[in-house]
Structure formats: C-alpha cells, structure tokens
Amino acid sequence: MNYMELLGALAPEAIVVLTALVALAVDLLVLRQAPQNARQVVAVSITAVGILAAIIALSVAAPSPPWMDGLLINHSTTAFLKQTLLVLALVAGILSIQSRFTQHTGEYVTLLLLSTVGMMLLVSSDNLLLMFVALELTSLPLYVLTAFNKESPSSSEASLKYFLIGSLSAACLLFGISLLYGLSGGITWTQLATTLRAGSEPIVYLALILTLIGFAFKVAAAPFHLWAPDVYQGAPTPVAAFIASGSKIASFYMFARIFMAALPGTAGSAAWSGATPGWVPLVAALAVVSMILGNVAAIAQRSVKRLLAYSAIGHAGYALLAILSNTEQGMGSLLYYVVTYAVTAMGAFAVVNVIERDVQAPNGESLTDFAGLSRRSPLLSLCLLVFVLSLAGIPPLAGFFGKFYIFIATAQSGTSQGLIWLVMLAIGTSAISLYYYLQILKQVYVVESVGQPTPVQLRPAESACIVAMACTVLILGCAPNWLINRFSPNSTEVRRAGVITKPSTTLELAAEIHPRITAPLGTATGLVQKRPQFETTTANAQ
C-alpha cells in the first residue's frame, strides 16, 4: 500500500478534481468583477485544459491490476469510457458559454467536473462500497446543477423532484446492497459471485429488486422514469444534455457490471416459454414497460426536450435488452449503444440549446420553435437530421448499428430463440418511434417559420462541437467495427499479447455457416483478418 502509487493510478481523477478546484478559485478570487462572458470563457478554458490532461493521462496509463478488493479497476474499456465521459463533460461546458441561466460560472464548472469524477469512479469500481459512494458523487452535483436556473421556477421544481425521488431510490439501493452484503458476507464482485445463487430464498430476490430499482432510477427506466421528463425540461439544457449522456453511460456500465459480473448465479431466464425467476425477467419487465411507454408517450409531446426525455426512456428499454442478454456480447452491445446514444443525445440537446437561446422562451422551447429551421440555419438542421435519424435507428448512422447489435446479442443469448419476443417488441416500438422523430423533422424542413426567417446565431466553438458530434455519429455508423472492437470480449488481451490466429476465409464454408458450433464465442473478434481480396464462384453454386 503506497499512497504515491495510488495517486498514480488515480491520476486522471485527481487531475479533474484539481481542475475543478482551480476553476472555482480563479472564478471566485480573480474574476469576481469581470463580465459574465469572460468568466465563462476562462472557466471553460481551464476545464478544457484539465480534461485534455486527464484524457492524455488515461491514454498513457498502463493497465494496472485491481487495487484493494476491486476498489479500483483500470483497463482499456474503463479508460475509453472515462475519456468519453470527459469529452461529454467538456461539451456540456462549452454549450453553457453565453447562456444566461446562471451567474455562478465557477460553481457550475466545479459541480460538472465533480459529477464527472463520480462517473469516472463509477466505471472503475468492482466494489459495492465505492459503487454507492460514486453513485452519490455523480448524482448530488447533478441535483444541484438541475436547480441552477434560478429565473425558472421549473428548474427548482425539477431539481427538488429529482433530489427526492433520487433519495428514495438511493435508499432502496442501499437496502439492496446491505442485503447483498448480509447474504454473501462480502462487498466485491468476486465474493458476491461465488456465494449468491438463485435458490429457494425469497430474500435474494428482494435484494435483487432493491438493487435494480436504484439503477432503474439512474437510467430512467419505466416505471422509475418519472423524474426524467421534468428534469430534462426544467434543467438548464447543457445540464440536461449531460444527464442524458454522461450519467447514462456510467450508470448503464455499472448496472451491467453488477448484474452480469457480481450476480451471475441469480440470473434466471426471460424466455417466452419457461421463464425462471431471477434478475433477467425483472430487467425484461422494465425493458418492456420502458420501450412501450417511452415510445408511445413521446408521440403526444409538444416540447422537444420532453420528447427527448421520453425517447430516452425508450432507449433505456433497448439498452436493458443488452443487459438481460447476460453475455459478453451483450456487454459489448450495451457499451456501443450507450456511447453512441450519448453522443447523439448530446448533439440533439446541443441543437436544442441553440434554439432555446434563440427563441428565449420563458418555459423552454416547444416543437413549433423549430419551424423553418432549415431556412434559418441549414448546417444546424442538417446536424439535427443526423441526430434524429440516428436516434430513430436509420442506417447507416450509429443508432442503427447500436440497436442492431443489441438485437443480435439478445436474439442469440436465449436458448432456441426464447428471447425473440423481446426483439420483436423492440423492433416494433422502434418502428413507432420514427413517427415522433419525423414530427421534429417536419417542423425543421416542412413547416414555415413564423415571420421573416432570420439566421440563427451560432458560436464557433458550439458549432464545431455540433458538427464534430454529427460526424462522429456518421462515422461510427459507417465503420462500427472500430468501436465494437474496443468493447468486444478479449480484444484487449488479444491485442496486447499479439496473438494472431489463423485467418479464416470464406472458403471454409462449413465453419462460416455454423460458426456457433465450430467457433467458440468471440475467438476471432478484434483481429484484423486477412481475407482474400475477392474470390470467384460460378453462378450456379452447385
């Protein structure tokens, strides 16, 4: 046990905390009387420097063995997720420049960064104790950030609801954790996984339910979604964007980790015929309710932020499918899905942020504020088109492959297509979802704006962010393998070891046709396979 080594392992988090404190100090001590805009620029610049430093620290850090009972896990997946979280936090910071929702710039940036630290700790812990603390560290700044717009009563109202419901769910989670500890006698994943089995004891299920509720709240899965529409609408838009993106990534990752890695013995099955109790059917119930409620209720919304909230509930339903598939592939699909979703949602909120600043509506924007956007800012509307179509799951955008990957993983996980009913439901609801996404596009492209269309004011940094995110969504859709390989099982180990397995060719037809029999799960993923450039077959395959 050496504090310096520990500091080395925690260097990225430490850098972010330092950045937060420096930003606060500079803002409060030096720039107290400076104009608001200058304060915002300085605070975000400091944040940018700190975040870049942390990203560099993450990319150079060597993977370390787990620290102290899995209190700290560092490997390439966590490093990548942390980098994504940091980038999202930076974008949320950039989006808030020039917005008028608060005078407390330093505090805003500090809380944003502290929440990011919470998320970073959350993705790198295999331990119930740190998991809970990190979850609180993530949530508490978000509650406060939601209330940052003091001119809007709905901001405070949303914050209060978020806080109280959040406390309720935290209480449930804590109860669940304590039961898990009491039943297993340990707080690390390995201890839990070796002791807990699905058996005759109903108390195990009670522990599962309570733990599940805590996470269902965090990821806004119905019926624990009630806070989401209010918070998305009431919170300042950059904050809502961060809640919808960063917080989702961290919570979903931990959600999947705790159930897949720590509680594999209590999984059960959600197959259409022959379901067995465990957490999988519970997650399936949440997924079904979320997909239906989120996608159907979104149709009736008139505010884009509220609509995005309901769509987020629907998306949480799809992501839950990945969790309940309970395989390595499910984990990969979940990560691909939440990362691409986070970028897309962040982008959509960024566009909403611009519009909101433009219309200056007292109660947030509404769908009609987007009318005629294509004539007011073609660039912005093109980016919004990319984000919305990606959310709707139209190929070749990232959103499609996210869903597709999840459907594949889910369809494959059940024995003899037992989970195909969930996939059917998911595809059906995603077909419904196109309806309300098209309503946004109809406003943007078809409906005329009221009065003379004036160009939308866009700041360079903001538009650079939006365009970059739109390009990311497009590129991840056109070349999904890059991101998928980062999350696919064993890819990191294989890459590090430099193992190159025998290249497979399409000529080995038997192996290709029945890969499930001949090739074990994921052996060949992550390798650059040398395929022949082309091959010729006769027209008649006989």
């Binding site: 809380l111 406060v144 940052f148 039943l183 109903p202």
Partner: protein, 209 residues
C-alpha cells in the same frame, strides 16, 4: 427456529419508538414538532446500533445526527418562521397510497420472514471488532478511495448549498434585462428566487405541454 418471542424485548421497543416517531415526523402539522420527532427517530436508530454492539456507529449517530444535523434542522425551521402549515397533510389519494404502502411493505416483509437463512442463529457472536483505531486504519488504508470520494461528495454538497441559497444579483446577470423576466410577469413568482424553498413553487400549470 426463531419466533416472535425470541426477539429481544429491547429491540421491539426501540423499533416501535423509531417507527412511530418517523411516522410522526412525516405527518404532524407543526414543523417544529416534526423536527423534534426526527430527533427521536435518530435517537432510536442510534439505540439500534448500540443494541447491535456497534458502539462507534451508535455514538457517531448521536453526535452527528442528533447533535448537529437535527438541531440544525430545528433551528432552520424556527428561524424561517414558517412552522405552521395550514394545509391538510393527508393526501386525497390516501387510500391508494395506503394500498400501495401495504403492498410494498408486504413484499418487503414476506421474503424476510420466509427466508430460511434469516431464521438461523449466528454461530458465534457477531459483535464487530469495532475499535475506533481499527476503523481509522481501515479508512485510511484499504478504504481510502471511498473516503476521498466522500470528501468530494461533501464538497459538492457544500458548493451546491451555497449556490442554491445565494441570492442572485439581478443586474449582474446580463446588462440588458432578459426577455425572460418580462414575459414572466404574470406567473407565480416574478422576483428571482431567493431560497430553495421559495423557488420551488409549483408551476405545474405553466410547464405542461
């Protein structure tokens, strides 16, 4: 098998006091009374810890919650003088609430009483080895990361409390009065909200689609 009679009478009494005071803290009309009931709840919890031989946690509960937090709450209530609440604390949908409460309570209690592992008596005494020194060593060595994270949680909470409680200077925000203020005139609260309580007015009518 443990029956109800096996449960120590002391525990039952403590539990009863804790529960009743918690219910009172939730439902009494006078906020000062509510605060005092909360103190009683905290005391009950401390007693439970002591009963389980967790001395350190028990005393910490008394010192921190009873001694500091609850007293702070009572002072805040007294200073803001909003103690009397005129509205009925019982909701109209109390029957539904009662039903759901019973359902939840049942679903929580049922697994507890039917689980075999909870009926077994522990083989040896479970009194934790809870010397303060050991706890300190653990916290500074093995659990130093959660400890640091908790420090950050407290920092965030403090900054948040200051931000929410601080009264914004209306002129500082923007040189030109934002149209938001002008349009808001007819609504519930025109002045920038001063405290969390003031600002959390119900605006359900204004934000609905």
């Amino acid at each position: 098998m443990r029956m109800l009679s096996d449960i120590p009478i002391a525990f039952l009494m403590i539990a009863a006091v804790t529960l009743v005071s918690a219910v009172c803290a939730m439902s009494l009309r006078n906020l000062v009374h509510c605060g005092l009931c909360l103190v009683l709840t905290f005391v009950g919890l401390a007693a439970t810890y002591l009963h389980l031989s967790a001395e350190f946690v028990g005393f910490a509960q008394v010192l921190v919650y009873v001694g500091a937090v609850a007293i702070l709450i009572v002072f805040t209530i007294l200073l803001t003088r909003n103690a009397e609440v005129t509205l009925s604390p019982v909701s109209q949908s109390s029957l539904v609430g009662l039903g759901i409460a019973i359902a939840v309570c049942g679903s929580l209690v049922l697994p507890l009483v039917t689980s075999p592992s909870l009926r077994r008596l522990p083989a040896q005494s479970l009194a934790p080895d809870a010397q303060v020194q050991r706890i300190g060593e653990k916290l500074m060595a093995q659990y130093v990361i959660p400890l640091e994270a908790l420090a950050l949680v407290l920092t965030a909470a403090m900054i948040g409390a200051v931000v929410i409680a601080m009264r914004d200077d209306p002129e500082r925000n923007d040189p030109s009065p934002s149209p938001q203020n002008q349009k808001d005139t007819g609504s519930v609260s025109n002045s920038p909200a001063g405290t969390a309580l003031n600002s959390s007015s119900s605006t359900s009518s204004s934000q609905r689609p």
